[in-house]
Subunit: 388 residues, 4 copies
């Protein structure tokens, strides 16, 4: 293995070389972001060098479709290539740790999809690797893409500016319904050994990350509850046991005194991709729903009572985060550009040699909270969040 060079030394000389690993749902979303970011944002020059996947034909077809110069099947070789500066990991969660640690060791900047890893042990290993690499100028970031929804970025600004005053409580929910049908078949996502967890890891992670993103601070204590409404589903050999949750509930106590409730479900019939966030402060409140991601609800309680009300801000003005790059006001953007914005912010951090956010430490923090929720549910008791 070559000694990790300070990327900042080499960056100016040629465009950054990017490799992505994975071409399924998240691979498609990340590839699309790489393909489009430079059309809209001023980012350092880069090239979509190589897309990696296990099936040679399929990955070649995907590479052609999404603008990658080549495809490959062996990620190990790719992350050692001198012309690769950035590794974007969209492979399944159980592969994250091995790839990320190796890529960081090879001196590559790493962007990894959430969740950081399937186990706390792996997540801790990755975080340690990231800390070490950072000392050598190598950046790393976890892909909680909803931090890049303009409306949520605006929400964070408003909270940081004190427009909500003291935040008392947050209601966060992530509701989907793709498992509402009891006859929906068994998949690897419904087995604990392959998926790690169910709705909790998959979507509560987003909700919890948003609580941390919006409010900042630490979660000290949690209560948790998990449930599997459909505990047997048709598999290849008849009914098989579902071993992960399809809904979860939690409350989180923040160091600030705020409390957040979290509720997630994959059986909430009629809710398609509804990450709902409500933030209540003593001077104002915010509302958000990912199914209408171009809107933010805001109530300013410092106005005269007579004219108070939740306003629907169409977060589509040049004054709003990320929007100046896009279309004139009122021409809404789609879900996919949360990834475009993510890649933009990652590239700028790489260029500037600054730590992109959220870091692996932040990803690990979410993992700790999820783990505490799971343990609280198992113990039927409130639990203090333990960290390293």
């Amino acid at each position: 293995m070559s000694t990790p060079a300070h990327p900042s030394d080499s960056t100016p000389s040629r465009p950054l070389g990017v490799a992505a690993i994975g071409y399924a749902f998240m691979g498609k979303a990340h590839s699309n972001a790489w393909r489009n970011v430079a059309s809209f944002f001023d980012v350092p020059a880069f090239e979509q060098k190589v897309l990696v996947g296990r099936d040679a034909d399929a990955v070649a077809e995907a590479a052609a479709r999404y603008g990658w110069a080549e495809s490959a099947t062996d990620w190990r070789t790719v992350i050692e290539r001198d012309d690769i500066d950035i590794v974007d990991i969209c492979a399944p969660g159980w592969m994250h740790a091995e790839i990320a640690v190796a890529a960081l060791a090879a001196g590559k900047h790493v962007l990894v999809e959430k969740p950081l890893a399937n186990t706390l042990a792996e997540a801790e290993l990755m975080t340690a690797a990231a800390a070490k690499a950072r000392a050598g100028g190598v950046q790393s970031m976890i892909g909680f893409n909803y931090r890049r929804v303009p409306a949520l970025a605006l929400a964070r600004e408003l909270i940081a500016e004190g427009r909500l005053g003291t935040v008392r409580h947050v209601r966060a929910a992530y509701l989907q319904d793709w498992l509402a049908d009891a006859q929906a078949p068994m998949t690897w996502r419904l087995r604990k050994e392959t998926a790690g967890s169910g709705a909790l890891g998959d979507i509560a992670s987003h909700a919890i990350d948003q609580v941390l993103f919006l409010l900042g601070g630490e979660v000290n204590e949690v209560t948790g509850r998990l449930n599997t409404f459909v505990d047997r589903r048709p598999g290849e050999n008849g009914l098989e046991d579902v071993t992960v949750d399809d809904a979860a509930w939690a409350t989180l106590s923040l160091a600030s005194g705020a409390i957040a409730s979290v509720e997630v479900s994959r059986v909430a019939t009629g809710r398609k991709n509804s990450l709902q966030i409500e933030v209540y402060g003593d001077k104002g409140s915010l509302l958000f729903d990912l199914e209408n991601l171009n809107e933010l609800g805001f109530l300013d309680a410092t106005l005269p009572v007579r004219e108070q009300g939740f306003r629907r801000i169409l977060v589509n003005e040049p004054e709003h985060p990320y929007i100046e790059a896009w279309w004139p006001q009122g021409h809404i953007i789609g879900w996919e550009h949360t990834f475009t914005h993510q890649v933009r912010d990652f590239l700028l951090a790489v260029r500037d040699g600054t730590q992109p956010s959220p870091s692996f430490e932040e990803g690990l923090n979410v993992q700790h909270i999820l783990s505490a929720v799971e343990e609280s549910a198992a113990n039927k008791s409130t639990l203090t969040v333990v960290r390293r």
Copy 2:
């Protein structure tokens, strides 16, 4: 006929005596208002003396149900009674003029349901009678009850305070669907000779009155269009001709330079009682829908662009018009109380000897505009509104 006494002289000595004429839909709504107003508002003492209707049994039953001390079948006798001070006319439109003129002549304060009359000639007669009576201290008012929706009263306040700046245009619509079914039977409401007009007189009148209520000023010019989508309906002797419009469109030019569009329909499937009003000014805008009558949408364009948006004001705070009398915040009120507020305002005007609003003149003004719309539609040309 006794010489009309100055009511202000007699009022203090005993509670005002009220007679209502009509006990169908509007009679029920008005009766309910009389029955409840004093439970919530401080109004001069009055008594629900007598309810008048043609069917002796039915009106007796209605009188008992809605709190009237007695019932009667001959309105002429009733309006001459010394113990009657107020006559509330809820009879069909073609009876308005005769009753109102007689009641005013008898020195009774008169509240009359909209429309003022079925014809312009009748409306002008009534207005002349009202002007004469007013000189003798006898008050009169037309029942455009939606002026008393708290949200619309708030809308008027905001406009009057300049919160919308210069109002450019208004979009007003009144959409219902009770005639959407082509098999809905023929009724007197669908014949020109009994109903005067269709959607135009019945519901466009409300929409136009709101334009005048909210913006003030005069309408100088109109364009109009009428249509009857279902022109034959099943009657007692087979299919009969529908001779009134079931939808109408108009634009009104106000003296201020503002333009209002009006669209009304009784065949707008799925719209039940949707009086929608949008007001656009250079500093702000308002939205309203009668199906959510406790809410007002307000956009304040003087705020920073970043935080502009239509807010949903739940018009249910003690700070809002009429609301202090009711329930704590967020406990919404129903459609019926537009009438309760109307009776309250009428009673206060009677007590104070002031002209209640809207006056017969204002009702006549609406009639002139409706008439011009109808003529414009017939002529297929823009029309100047002609007044006496």
Copy 3:
């Protein structure tokens, strides 16, 4: 004390005599219901005999305002009167048990505002008294008025008809903001000794009753959490301790396997009286918000996917529960008529000699669940609901 007569024997001979105890917020709401119910519904004849309160002048004024024939200050005397058949208890919670037990013993039908009582012991005493009285034909009912919101009555019908299939989970929240301001002063409602509890007893009780009303069945297990965000408020002698919760969170496990989450708050800035209920089944879902109480959201998942969506049913058609009595379609009703409907249903049950619902047993059941939530919060552990 006179021997309790079988009311069914005496009812036919004369109108039922009604006494109400209390004339504050709930007294006003109940009085208004008594005053109006017979104008809209066919109910057995009754008379508003007497309103009882501690302040003689104030109660006399209230009696006159709300249509009571007389007023009184001693409830003990009133409930013994031969001309009183029904006692409606709107006094504070700590008085419920004593009055209700005495009234039932005196053979009077009793309607009591929620919560049933401030303590479980009192609630059990009342329930025993109600059971005994019921054997003698004396009826009793607790006033969970939101069961009489037409939209929620429709929701229950749809669930009972199987339109939602198997209900998996419910999200119930009751959000208000009248304590959002940290400077809002101390009151008896914020002291445990006078109020029993805070948001939990006051508003979570409604949310929990709705879960039971809509789904039926038993709650077996709960998790709970309470919080007081503002723990000191200005009182007459400076800052005083707030000893009740201003927000609460719970999950309830139903015998059916369904899980309900409950979240309530008095500091949810911008939420005025927002009882929100979402019910998710495998064949459909429902949405409700008390701030728009004339609407019910319904998604029918048995329709083709292409045309599925939450529909906003304006629950204002003659086909809908309670609505035929009111106004034509689209003319919405107000919050107050949940009480009108409640009185109507109570009167019909008294007439028919049937048990009105919800019974004191149902009220006690809610108290048991609230008590378990409180204990779970104190113990920081999941708790089994214990019943007598």
Copy 4:
């Protein structure tokens, strides 16, 4: 000029060569569509050959940014190139006719932004050229991109399937506010000689095209009204006259008997890009707003009254038009992909040798209607639509 080859003969041999003319707002939107269409849809092979603009440096920069192989400043040369098969015209309206006619004559397939042209005469010339070219296998299309909003495509399907029964009336509005500020400066868009018309041509054209797209059939008669609320704006030499409308109103009578109202404004404060469409039939109704373009409101009036209501269909399922290519359900798409879909449909038509829709004839038809609206406004009278 070379003899127009039959493109169908040459297409198979190599990827289609595409040239785009214009790189401002519409050029950016079209370029983005060309750049992304093949990542999501199976379309014939093509290459983004050349982007044309007047400013050599700016167009070169734009070409690089949006994925064009080269840039050029002379469109005449480009449309003669043998390696160019498709010309996409995004230049200002006054250039459309000259370029389109020349490109068609050169045997190139042409996609042209709306409006077809600034004058009727030009539009007729273009339509004649398109008809002639079509005979030689050369296709042409006008870019009413909102036909490719999935929700509106679904709306058309539902109407075509008879789900709305007989359509009675349509309410179409296109509301923006970028001219609400009276101090917004003078531009070429506000002069009749450069822009042709104001809100009428720019946005009423979209609304009218939707009426035709959704309902089909011919418009026979119109009423029109135009207004300029701010008739002088600050220019380089002080206040200058605004010579186009900033708001317009029309009614259209369709051959079917349906009537559509159209209202457009650039001064509707708070409305950013709100193309609102409501369609009322005797069996159902539809609602749409471009600011929430992933949603369609649908009311099915054939369901029992008890459960009727407007449903919000999140048009994001694989079963919906265009959506299978995108993301899983509930992951909404942005405004830009109306162009992606447009390019996809255009490419498929070119491949199949079929006429893409909307044709130049359809564009001309919209121009005729706009012209009649303008004339009706000028004449203050209803007008019959005249066609060639």
